[in-house]
Amino acid sequence: MPSWNDVVREHGPSAYRTAWRILGHAHDTEDVLQDAFLEAHRSFCSGSVRNWRAFLNQLVTYRSLDRLRRRKQSIELDDLLTCDGRAGPYDEAVAREAEARIRACVAELPERQAAVFCLFHFEALSHDDIAETLNITTNAVAVALYKSREVLRGLVLESAQEEKS
């Protein structure tokens, strides 16, 4: 059985990355990770977890989506500080706006669809890995992925039209 430090060391960075990609906001990511690790540590003490990668991934994904739904959509200063520097300020702002729009749309998706969408498109997990992470069948993954894309496509287009008008 791995030690708690092993769990954190081995799976912590990818858990952070998952939350970061869903939230795109450093402070929110830290908050979500703190809550998630508290819950994970309780599970560690009860010895009820066999697959830490899947467990943490599921926990962090759902917690991040909860946070995403609750928070006010905005771009904050600390996000801009992590700019990769490859684009100019205008391009960077436009790109961030597009990202924010995607995240806002993801926040509108039903929970399972949102989780499947994020794990597939943000984390590049396979259908099998997503099924294992969320404890659902691969067929359910395929169905959720299809539905999430449809909803997302509609929401983004709708959002773009609203901006134009």
Binding site: M1, W4, N5, V8, R9, G12, P13, Y16, W20, R21, A26, E30, D31, L33, Q34, D35, F37, L38, H41, R42, F44, C45, S46, G47, S48, V49, R50, N51, D78, L81, T82, D84, A95, A98, E99, R101, I102, R103, F120, H121, F122, A124, H127, D128, N135, T137, N139, A140, A142, V143, L145, Y146, K147, R149, E150, L152, R153, V156, L157, A160
Partner: protein, 545 residues
Amino acid sequence: MKPDDPVEHSLPTEIAAGLERIRSRPASEDSVQKVLLAAQALGSEDVSSRSTSKPAPRRVFAGKLVIALTVVVLLSVGLLTSRSPVVWADVVQSMEDVPWLKLTPTDSTIEFTSWLSPSRRIVGVRHRDGADFVDQAAGEHVEFNKVNGTLCRIPVDRPHWPALETIHEIITAGAVESGSIFSGFKVVDQESRTVEVSGRKWIEFVLQLRQAATILKMTVRVDPESQLPVWLDIQGDERTTRFEVSYPDDGPRDIYALGAPRDLKITDRLPSKDLQVVLEKLNTAFWEFGDYAAIVCNERGVPWRLIRRDGERWRFDRCVSTDRTQPVPEDTARLLEVTGDDQWWKDRLSEFDLQPVFVCDGETVYRFTDKGERVRHRRGGGDSISGMIETTHFLIEWFAWPPHKVNSEFTHRLGPADDDGPDGTLLLDVQAVVPPSRSLRFRQCKLWLDPDLDYAVVRHEMLGYTDLKLPGDPYGHLDQTNQLREFSEFRKSPAGHSYPTVVHWKNVSNKDGTGKAHDITTYYHLDFETAIPDSVFRVGAQPTD
């Protein structure tokens, strides 16, 4: 863009570019380290002093930490719970530490013995029809079929190890159908209890396993000292089977150790890369196809059919004219002229009564008789409800994308189509290699795939089809041993998967007793936009079995 995801190409450019940026945007290393340090502090025995010397990034975090530690301490001394001193995770851990587990049924009439090596990720099963040796790490499954005298190497469909459910899956799959090792059963509930038998205490864990609508109850009696199971009970719908668990030092190292003759050559059925690509498409497109309502009719205009699908739920209705004196609406002659005119069909739908033929609520398929009586037709099983070939194979997406997996009873040959196939197509020829005495759904299946349609099936021939006694045959002409269908007028679903709108059923036998065969053409009008209410897929009270 994800290189292996053609579907991402179908998303609007703006979304695809945004996703790429989200994936590639780096996180702050300082922030990552801050979080990891705080998380590691949870494992420290002196967390409070660490929190003082190195404050956690959020005050609320420290507060929660104290509460969490208090709960953990109380749990550890048993103040908050009366559960048994051995938890299921201890049992799992104990089993993973032994070299081999051997499961033997107490009922000697059941031929099913299995060996498991958690550390080597190996499963060996000896059963009535032969044996299976699964090396999860190598992704290989060697199957010995005593009846057919065959030894085949086939793919491992899905890696489940080291999930404890695998043990359950092996036992239950073996008890229900020999050779079916990984069957997708999941633990949906568990509880533990302490029992005393003849002055000795035991721990019992009761697990509920579920696969679609199939629920199995598993009881495991554990020795509290060794924390290892001594027996397992599997309770299905009709019977309970007990397996004794022993822990030998050694177990089977290959299929021959499980009884396969050493002079029997292993036939390699692992699919080629090209075949893998095709199978991947067939196995995913059906599920990604999308939700729709489809009006189906033949060239005579009646009878019409209405099909609706929403994920794993679907429904098939027969449309009966409300005007019994006019069984054929006057303007159905327009059918051939208006193919594709969806609105015309929507308008005419009100002229018909809908009589359900099949309704699948996502777990169970219900069949309705001509008198409207509801009968439970098939519960979910196998990979999913799509395993019910005789009830899903009238969905139009099944024609184009029939889910298909490699097994040892068929050979799969993929190559250019022969002369009788449509130009430019590939032929996937699936042929049974087991004796005719072995009951199979079909003996040969030929799928002509069109590369221009992303390998959708454009022609489908089934030879030796045996599922002929389909009650409620939805089209009324599926009871043929040999079936040939050709598909044309393809369109694309919103998810980008091609589907035919015209199906030609060739040489359909006549049901009027004349024995004459003729061709039938059916037309499909799919509507992907109209929302389908949930009530469509509900069947109400308990059906008759």
